[in-house]
C-alpha cells in the first residue's frame, strides 16, 4: 500500500472516499455489507433512518450530472441529513472565485460532508487536503480519474446476483479511455478477488498501459464476451470525445454494440450492467437493455443504498 492514503485516518478508518484504488478489501466489504442493510431500509414504508440527523451534506457539482446528484441527494435525505445542492458551474466560479475559496466559504457555513463532481481529475483530493478534520469528502466523479461510488454499486450489484467474486469472469466493454467509471470498476473487481477482468473496446478508446491494472485486453467483441458471467457496458462518452477517434456511432454499434446475438456468447445466466445514461443503439441494443439479463435498473436502486453506506460510515468515523 502507498505510504499515506489520504482517504484513511490513523487507524485505517475511512475519512474520505476519493478513489477505490488503494482501499483495502476489508473496507470495500464493510461498505458492501453496510449497503445491504440499507437496501432493506429503502424498501420500507418510511425510508429514513436518523443517522445523519442535524448534519449538512453539500453536493458540489462543478460539472452537471442530474442522475448522480439526485442519487446522492436521496441517499443523504434517507439518512436524515440536510442537503444543499450547489450547481457551481453556473454560480460563483463564473464570477472568478477559486475552488478552495468556494470550499472555505461552505466550510464556514458548517458543512459536514462534501460530495464533489468536477471535470478535473484530482479536484476532490485537493478539497480533501484543505478541509478541516471534521469534514468528509466523497468523490462523485472527477475528470477521467475515478467515480468510486459507481464502482462500488457495480460490485454490489454483481455480489447480489453472483454471490462470490472469486470464480467470475467480468468483461468491461466500450470507451475505456475516457471512462472514470471503468477505472473504479477495475480497482474494485481486482481488490475483491475477481480472477479475470477483461476490457473490450477499439484500440483508439483503450488506454495504452491498461494491462498494468491487471486486466486482459480484447479488441474483438465476440472473443471478449465468450463465457463471461458479467457484461459491464460503458457509455460512449460523446461529450468527452476529442478528435476523430471513431468514424461514427453507427460504425461503433456494428463493432461494439451489445446485441442479443453477442450477449449469447456470454454464459446463459450472465448479467448485463450499464452505469447510465444509456445511448440506445450506440453501445447497447434496446432488446438487451430491456431484456431479462439486464440489471440496469436494480443498479440504480442499489446505488442509493451504497451511497447511504458510504455516508454513514464516514459520518460514524467522526
Amino acid at each position: 500500500m502507498a505510504a499515506h492514503n489520504p482517504q484513511l485516518g490513523p487507524d485505517g478508518e475511512l475519512r474520505h472516499l476519493l478513489s477505490i484504488e488503494g482501499l483495502p478489501r476489508a473496507t470495500l466489504m464493510q461498505i458492501l455489507d453496510t449497503a445491504r442493510s440499507f437496501v432493506s431500509v429503502t424498501e420500507r414504508e418510511i425510508k429514513k433512518v436518523p443517522l445523519l440527523r442535524g448534519k449538512s451534506v453539500f453536493n458540489l457539482f462543478f460539472e452537471s450530472s442530474t442522475r448522480t446528484r439526485t442519487t446522492f441527494e436521496i441517499a443523504a435525505k434517507r439518512l436524515s441529513a440536510d442537503v444543499v445542492n450547489l450547481n457551481i458551474a453556473t454560480s460563483s466560479q463564473s464570477k472568478g472565485e477559486t475552488l478552495l475559496d468556494t470550499v472555505a466559504n461552505l466550510s464556514a457555513m458548517h458543512a459536514d460532508m462534501f460530495v464533489v463532481r468536477h471535470a478535473s481529475s484530482g479536484a476532490p483530493h485537493l478539497i480533501a487536503r484543505h478541509v478541516g478534520p471534521e469534514i468528509h469528502v466523497i468523490n462523485a466523479g472527477d475528470g477521467r480519474h475515478a467515480h468510486p461510488t459507481q464502482g462500488l454499486l457495480d460490485v454490489y450489484t454483481i455480489r447480489h446476483y453472483k454471490t462470490d467474486f472469486t470464480d467470475l469472469t467480468v468483461a468491461i466493454v466500450g470507451d475505456l479511455l475516457h471512462s472514470r467509471v471503468a477505472r473504479s470498476e477495475i480497482h474494485a473487481l481486482t481488490t475483491l478477488g475477481v480472477p479475470e477482468v477483461r476490457v473490450v473496446g477499439p484500440r483508439t478508446l483503450m488506454p495504452p498501459d491498461i494491462e498494468k491494472l491487471g486486466v486482459r485486453v480484447f479488441h474483438d467483441m465476440r472473443e471478449g464476451l465468450r463465457g463471461v458471467d458479467v457484461v459491464m457496458m460503458l457509455r460512449l462518452q460523446n461529450e468527452r470525445m476529442s478528435g476523430a477517434l471513431l468514424p461514427s456511432s453507427q460504425e461503433y454499434f456494428r463493432s461494439y454494440g451489445l446485441t442479443p446475438a453477442r450477449l449469447a456468447l456470454a454464459k446463459p445466466d450472465a448479467i448485463v450492467m450499464h452505469p447510465g445514461p444509456m445511448n440506445r443503439g450506440v453501445e447497447i441494443d434496446s432488446a438487451v437493455a430491456d431484456g431479462p439479463q439486464s440489471v440496469i435498473l436494480p443498479q440504480v436502486t442499489f446505488g442509493i443504498a451504497v451511497r447511504m453506506a458510504v455516508m454513514a460510515i464516514l459520518a460514524g468515523n467522526g
Binding site: 455489507d33 433512518v49 436518523p50 443517522l51 454513514a312 459520518a315 460514524g316 467522526g318
Partner: protein, 173 residues
C-alpha cells in the same frame, strides 16, 4: 468489591420469563427480538409459548444514540418484521435490560414501519442502571450490578444453550 457479581443461570431465567408471559400473550401478538441476544431469547420464547405469529427481528444500529461516538458496526442485519405493524400488539424482547437506550432505539425503529397498537417489553435479565424512563412488562430475573463492573453479555453455545457472563470493565478485549 472485587468479588464478581453472581449472575443467574440464563436457562432458569428463561423458564421464569416463559411462565410469567404465558397467558398474557395473544395469538395476534408478535414477538420482536433485538439483535443479537434478544433474538436468541425471542426464538426460545416463541417456541415455548407456541405463538402462531412469525417472529420479528430488529437491528437497532441505525437508531443508536452513540453513533457519533462509536461509529457504525459493519454487519448491521436487516430488520425483519414479517407481519403488518399498524395496530399490532408487539412485545420487544431483549437479553439484558440496562440503560434503556437500546429499547428507545428499537421503539423508534418500530414506528418507522407503522403505528403499532401496543408495545411491551420482555427482558431475560434486568440489571438496573436505567438512564431513560423505560420499564419491562416481564423480566426473567433481576440483579443489581453497578455500572463500573462492566457489561453483562448473553452467549449461546453450539447446542443452543444460553448463558450470562460478565465482561469486566476495562478488561481489554
Amino acid at each position: 468489591m472485587p468479588t464478581p457479581p453472581t449472575l443467574p443461570d440464563a436457562e432458569l431465567s428463561l423458564d421464569h420469563l416463559v411462565s410469567r408471559m404465558r397467558g398474557a400473550i395473544g395469538a395476534d401478538t408478535a414477538l420482536v427480538g433485538i439483535h443479537t441476544g434478544g433474538v436468541w431469547v425471542a426464538e426460545r420464547l416463541h417456541a415455548a409459548l407456541g405463538l402462531p405469529t412469525p417472529l420479528g427481528t430488529l437491528d437497532v444500529a441505525f437508531y443508536r444514540d452513540d453513533f457519533r461516538q462509536r461509529g457504525l458496526k459493519p454487519d448491521v442485519r436487516p430488520s425483519d418484521l414479517p407481519f403488518e405493524i399498524p395496530g399490532r400488539d408487539i412485545v420487544l424482547v431483549d437479553d439484558v435490560l440496562y440503560t434503556g437506550r437500546t429499547v428507545r432505539a428499537a421503539v423508534n425503529l418500530l414506528f418507522d414501519y407503522g403505528r403499532p397498537g401496543r408495545v411491551r417489553l420482555a427482558a431475560l435479565l434486568d440489571r438496573g442502571g436505567r438512564q431513560l424512563p423505560i420499564a419491562a412488562e416481564w423480566v426473567g430475573d433481576v440483579v443489581d450490578v453497578p455500572a463500573d463492573r462492566g457489561m453483562i453479555v448473553l452467549e449461546r453455545d453450539a447446542s443452543g444453550r444460553l448463558s450470562l457472563t460478565m465482561e469486566e470493565a476495562g478488561g481489554g478485549a
